[in-house]
Symmetry: C2
């Protein structure tokens, strides 16, 4: 069983269901409500456990009731929270997400700038099969990715969003960088995935890829741009799909799967997540993903049938 | 020292400060955040304690972390929460309030319909100097107001909003009904305060009044409509001002003050609240109100100078 460190932000999402999204002021009454764990690193950790791996989460909570709730939900999901750091004088990160009847979303996040600032406690004794980080806690991510290099395991950087301050060191520390389209555009200054990946290749020797939602995933192998189309599924809820993709990809690499197999595994996990409602909490099981892959792929070819 | 039972809803308000209120979907980042106790009965209880009274809160919390937070904050404010009922399978009531730079507000509340449904535990042994209820938990309010009649103390109904199901019994159980303008219009079917109050007088023998924000308060004495103008203050934040008014009014009646004095006291408390930012949490002290009243009133006349 592979063990993966996921590092980055954890958020308590309060999802409120309304007939339609409000505009301007006024009083509105929500018909439905759910409080769920959110944030890239936390969602990825939950996905990894569901996929049969072990997940160790490095994140920061405020020492408050939101933090307690996050801790309880993550523990119930089987995530190892022993590397979570509790900050006494800072509030845990929260988002309110308003969702209308057609799935449109308004998200308002509050994160104290002090929460994801400053180094994590030492990774000198960390032994895992893979590391996955987001870009939102660079002071934590860089040493974790460097430790992955040191012990010779994959260090995957989920570059979904530009960090508050950009540092080439973040890109250079990872062995694998998976951009989101927005992250790549913001970082490379071009809307072209191919040009963006080639620009990033000037900055780092990491393996480079970019996920493009319903358009699948693109990656560089030497001079060549490769593409794996997304599965043509009926998406019900894409919230958290990227986080599931990244968690599954890091797990597969940690298990020793090759790039092609790991990308197929991650795409299948994200596709299955999109077919169920409930954010990152409806992450598929290992058996679900293997059944799905067996239905779609001839073991001899890479492209979906 | 007078002891007042306040009965009704308690809400945890999460206030998020944004540059401007969002319209439609998207991701937004709040600059500031505060979590404060809200809800008519809870705000009134906090106001009563600040004004030198004792407040006993009858409300319902879900047995969850939001409930724990409400309990902790109310206890810290000096409110007696021994009559709060904890429901195991229902979530505590919450509101998210987005506030822009100019004080415009978007409020989204979620309250489980099961939370404020069904009778409160018995009031047979209740001994207080006054009772104040909102309209949002009628199954709790009616027996509390009836108990006030039984023991011969004022029973004030804060009719700010139409209850989910309207019942004449609610109006008839109170000794004093203070409408908000919206509540009076919805209940009486007329935008005229005078006509509305006269229509309500057909339904109940209670003393009847209506608060009109910056226009002061109107009340019936027999056939005559009386009016107390609001204090001409610079309002900074009106959130919770109505709750402070109702708490202060019930406290003053419970202390044995006459109607005129009680209305002046309540108006002064509400005006002082509006001069400070921070919702019901910036309720004024007894000394503040008495100093304010001494500056404004000649003891011999009712109207402000």
């Amino acid at each position: 069983m592979a063990r993966v460190l996921t590092l980055g932000i954890t958020v308590l999402d309060t999802v409120l269901g309304l007939e339609r999204l409000p505009s301007g002021g006024g009083k509105h009454y929500a018909r439905a409500r759910a409080e769920v764990v959110g944030g890239i690193a936390a969602n990825a950790a939950i996905a990894i456990v569901r996929l049969g791996g072990e997940a160790l989460l490095a994140s920061r909570f405020g020492d408050d009731l939101v933090g307690e709730r996050l801790q309880a939900d993550l523990t119930a999901a089987g995530v190892d929270t022993s590397r979570v750091e509790w900050l006494g004088s800072v509030a845990s990160s929260i988002s309110t997400i308003l969702v209308d009847g057609r799935g449109e979303r308004l998200l308002v996040n509050h994160s104290d700038p002090a929460l994801f600032h400053g180094p994590a406690s030492s990774f000198d004794d960390l032994v895992v099969d893979a590391v996955m980080t987001d870009t939102l806690w660079p002071d934590g991510a860089i040493p974790a990715l460097q430790r992955a290099r040191e012990i010779g395991v994959p260090g995957v950087l989920d570059f979904d969003r530009m960090p508050r301050r950009m540092t080439g060191e973040l890109l250079r520390s990872a062995s694998h960088v998976v951009f989101g389209q927005q992250g790549l555009e913001a970082s490379a200054g071009t809307a072209s995935i191919e040009a963006g990946l080639r620009a990033a290749a000037q900055e780092t020797d990491a393996w480079l890829a970019c996920t493009a939602g319903g358009n699948g995933v693109y990656w560089l192998e030497g001079a060549a741009l490769h593409h794996l189309p997304a599965f043509p599924i009926e998406a019900v809820d894409t919230l958290g799909a990227g986080d599931v993709f990244h968690g599954a990809f890091a797990l597969a690499l940690g298990e020793g799967q090759g790039i092609d197999a790991a990308l197929r595994f991650a795409s299948a996990a994200a596709a299955l997540k999109c077919m169920g409602f409930g954010g990152g909490a409806v992450s598929p099981s290992r058996a679900d993903v293997e059944r799905f892959l067996a239905e779609w792929f001839d073991p001899a070819v890479v492209e979906p049938r």
